[in-house]
Amino acid sequence: MPGAHAVSTFVERFAAAVDAHSQELTELDSAIGDADHGINLQRGMRAAVERLPENGAPPAAILKAVASALISKTGGASGPLYGTAFLRASQAVAGCDVLEPRDVARMFRAALDGIHERGKAEPGDKTMVDAFTPAVDALEAGVARGDDLRTALSAAAEAASAGSDATIPLVARKGRASYLGERSREHRDPGSRSAALLFAAAAEALAE
């Protein structure tokens, strides 16, 4: 079962993926947004890694530190959205030292609920919600079937990636891209791409 170490590794893997894909995220955002998603999330996640608590802190404290770093350092809409996601995730696993599969599912559901409440985006609006929603659905379905975490999180990561692909033909109804109307079609939503990176990092780090 993943504990504090795995949760820290998840944060570090997500930060490393954002670093590696920073230019790609910014290019996606320059096509249909304000060209800052990669650089903003990179700044936020670098701050998050710097602020990871010392060994011995429980998963909830780690996730809360990430939330605080993202909210204070990110700048664009991804700061309050991912910040709220990590804050709700932290609250969902308060008191847990190790995370059972159902805890992991509850944690990501709470994160999605937080994003939904903060941003008010629905599936199909061409946002991070389009990757996050199928990922959480797949994770919950796997856990409910009794799959081990490796299987359930791999399915979640694949669903997030497919959900991101599915944003390409959509017209944006939320976020900066919605100002482009029809011109937002045929571009991948950058937030959906970073959400897919998040679930890939979770599948690598939390599956042990």
């Binding site: 304000d34 800052d36 903003n40 909210i71 204070s72 350092k73 990110t74 700048g75 664009g76 809409a77 700061g79 309050p80 959205l81 910040g83 709220t84 903060r118 941003g119 976020g175 900066r176």
Partner: protein, 134 residues
């Protein structure tokens, strides 16, 4: 100081300061307008911490505060800034769903006339119905 503070939140510090300047032309002598914009390191964006700081300061001087915002994350970070306030202060803040420039002018004029926050917010939101070209 008026009863109601007006807090202008923009992605751009210059835009926030400019909107305050423009609005104050219509309410000379008002000292109840705060302008906050940009990220903590001076870039384009919004900062929940900076907005929180402006709200705390505004509520030290005025009974209530109405916030006007420009785009996307300005609203999201204002919500977070409000949630960061103590409960007793949270109740004294509201957000106006209004165009920034016209809304700020209507809000500042109304606040300078010593209106409460519900009226200031309603006046700001009237800007949505205004025609620029008749």
């Amino acid at each position: 100081m008026s009863r109601t503070a007006v807090v202008v939140v923009s992605h751009s510090k210059q835009l926030a300061v400019g909107v305050r300047e423009l609005a104050l032309q219509m309410a000379r002598g008002s000292n109840s307008v705060w302008a906050v914009g940009g990220t903590d390191d001076g870039g384009i964006g919004t900062s929940a911490h900076a907005i929180h700081g402006a709200l705390v300061e505004a509520l030290e001087h005025c009974d209530e505060a109405v916030v006007l915002m420009d785009l996307g994350s300005a609203h999201l970070n204002t919500e977070i800034a409000i949630e960061m306030l103590e409960d007793s202060l949270q109740r004294r803040v509201s957000m106006a769903d209004a165009p920034l420039v016209e809304g700020a002018i209507l809000a500042v004029v109304s606040a300078a006339g010593d209106a409460g926050s519900a009226e200031v917010r309603a006046r700001a939101e009237d800007a949505r119905q205004m025609n620029k070209i008749m």
